[in-house]
């Protein structure tokens, strides 16, 4: 995609691409703890049925996935594994952090073995709060991510700019983390961020 990396994609074409991308998200399920069951209920149960949103929860490996849902408590033993599998996903990739534990440590905020927030390891696009969040909340997070993909400038993403986290309920802590995530995503792109006002 020479047009994309030079940032010269015509706007109608961008919109077309974005619509296609937002409605064919392949989700890699990273079920860790309690939230994994609610994620299973959202993705695998007839009552919630995520496939009607155009999300396909069945890729066999992270190399085929566009989106990863980190659902549950991330421990320090697990964190390197998550980082490694996230790095195997092809760009453009998105992350939903599901549940208080993945957001900020949750009820284990003072535990010696829990990673307090998955955003210390990988950049997060949507935070879904709750302990565990209801399946409806996860579906809302997916819809918010889709809206975000639709409004995305692919050229900017290619250059490593413009990754803004969203939160269903924006708390002060997450607002602080927003800046951290921006910094990290810029690092990941390997391109120095040039701010021109």
């Amino acid at each position: 995609m020479g047009l994309v990396d030079r940032g010269r994609l015509p706007k109608p074409l961008t919109q077309l691409f974005n619509m296609g991308r937002s409605y064919s998200l392949w989700v890699y399920q990273w079920g860790l703890a309690c939230c994994a069951i609610e994620m299973g209920a959202a993705f695998g149960s007839p009552r919630y049925d995520v496939m009607r949103l155009g999300v396909i929860p069945l890729p066999a490996s992270p190399r085929q996935a566009d989106l990863v849902v980190i659902s549950g408590t991330v421990t320090d033993k697990m964190a390197p594994v998550i980082k490694r599998l996230y790095e195997q996903m092809p760009e453009p990739k998105y992350v939903i952090s599901m549940g208080s534990c993945a957001n900020c440590g949750g009820p284990y905020w003072d535990s010696y073995s829990v990673t307090k927030g998955i955003d210390q390891i990988i950049p997060v696009d949507v935070y879904v709060p709750g302990c565990p969040p209801r399946p409806e909340a996860l579906l809302e997070g997916v819809v918010m991510l889709q809206q975000r993909i639709k409004n995305e400038d692919m050229g900017a993403r290619w250059r490593g700019e413009g990754s803004q986290p969203m939160a269903l309920a924006q708390s002060a802590k997450q607002a602080v983390k927003k800046q951290v995530v921006d910094g990290e995503s810029a690092e990941r792109g390997g391109v120095p961020v040039v701010v021109d006002h």
């Binding site: 860790l32 421990t75 829990v114 302990c131 209801r134």
Partner: protein
């Protein structure tokens, strides 16, 4: 090698030795198969390192700790009511059942007992969480064998039970409803009628699963005679719950123990199976769901009137002492050894969870089985990683 921990280093050396031995005998080259830490068959984040000789497993090293959250340390810095919110999340499928032994241990130390109505409602919610837990197992079992329909059915019917728990406690997954000296609240209006309807639905679900899955020839040939645990081995490894009953040991803490709960007031049966194989373990669990629906139906008819909370001080201080209370949780025996020094929070809590002991048999059990059977045996043992690692 410097990056590996001691345990992994030892496993590595052992694997080399196993390799050499196999190579000498059969002149084939061994292979290490890594399952997990993130694999649907492991019910969470269990990592299994298996040495294979062709299609057979030579030895297995289960590596747990990927879900270790430090419960026993965290309970030392929480007050008693806060610990209840924490222990919900040990076995996340049967949350309410985790609260009960801890609360009973605290009540034992304080020398109080919940009112009769609270005991009844506790037992009902306990059994509902067992149904929510085991019905997901029955659905998940199909997935491990390649059948995807049962899991949809399980999620469909499990939602009814979760709605009931949510209606009574306000929490769909983690109720945090038990208090020292009783319950937070009384049952809402109309809840009992709804429960009766749902129990009928659940029994229909059990019949469906029995027809669809247990009567299936593929299921039977994949589970019958596979992963046999003899009676004495099961006892030696400290197994409990349905895994022990499937090996022919008639042992159920709900019946064998006298706790301030309502199991002794109803008519129900403890199911055992003499075979001890994967099929027996699944079958015993199916029967347990049926018994649980019966227990709930009988209990909702006989809930006594009265308060749901005794008089307890506003700030709970548990007097000095030690108490051990265990109950028959969905996964097996779960107990709390609470040491109190008269503070707001416990001095030390030792948590005995069923899955850790149930899972510890895997190196013995998986030796010599074929690779596809690893998944079915792990599924039939039914552990939850939060319950293993805590």
């Amino acid at each position: 090698m410097t990056l590996l921990g001691d345990r992994q280093q030892l496993s590595y050396i052992a694997s080399q030795a196993a390799d050499a031995r196999v190579n000498l005998e059969l002149e084939t080259e061994g292979m290490t198969l890594n399952i997990g830490p993130q694999h649907p068959a492991t019910h969470g984040t269990l990592r299994i390192i298996a040495r294979l000789d062709g299609e057979q497993v030579v030895w297995v090293d289960p590596s747990c700790g990927y879900m270790h959250r430090g419960y026993e340390k965290l309970t030392e810095v929480r007050t008693y009511p806060q610990v209840t919110a924490l222990v919900n999340r040990i076995d996340w499928l049967g949350s309410f059942a985790n609260e009960v032994p801890f609360i009973l241990a605290a009540e034992k130390l304080m020398g109080i007992e919940a009112p009769l109505r609270a005991q009844h409602i506790r037992t009902i919610l306990f059994e509902l969480s067992r149904i929510a837990n085991v019905s997901l197992f029955l659905g998940d079992l199909g997935v491990q064998l390649g059948a995807i329909t049962p899991v949809f059915m399980a999620f469909r019917d499990r939602e009814y039970v979760l709605n009931l728990i949510e209606g009574a406690t306000g929490g769909r997954f983690h109720p945090n409803f038990d208090r020292i000296g009783g319950l937070k609240d009384d049952l809402p209006a109309g809840w009992i009628d709804e429960t009766r309807t749902v129990m009928k639905k659940l029994r229909r679900f059990c019949d469906e699963i029995e027809d669809l899955l247990f009567g299936n020839e593929i299921f039977q040939s994949r589970t019958r005679g596979i992963g046999v645990i003899p009676r004495d081995i099961a006892l030696q490894y400290g197994m409990s719950g349905a895994n022990l009953r499937a090996s022919g040991v008639d042992w159920d803490l709900r019946r064998d123990q006298s706790l301030p709960m309502a199991w002794d007031k109803v008519d129900w049966k403890v199911w055992t199976h003499p075979d001890g194989d994967s099929f027996a373990r699944c079958w015993v669990r199916l029967q347990e769901v049926r018994e649980s629906t019966r227990i709930v139906e009988q209990l909702v008819d006989t809930i006594p009137a009265g308060p749901v909370m005794t008089k307890v001080p506003r700030i709970i201080k548990v007097p000095e002492g030690e108490a051990w209370v265990c109950t028959e949780n969905p996964l097996g025996e779960m107990g709390y050894y609470v040491v109190s020094q008269g503070d707001l929070g416990p001095f030390r809590v030792k948590i005995r969870s069923a899955s850790f002991n149930n899972m510890s048999i895997t190196p013995w059990l998986l030796k010599g089985v074929y690779v596809p059977d690893i998944v079915t045996i792990l599924a039939s043992l039914y552990f939850i990683l939060g319950d293993i690692d805590r």
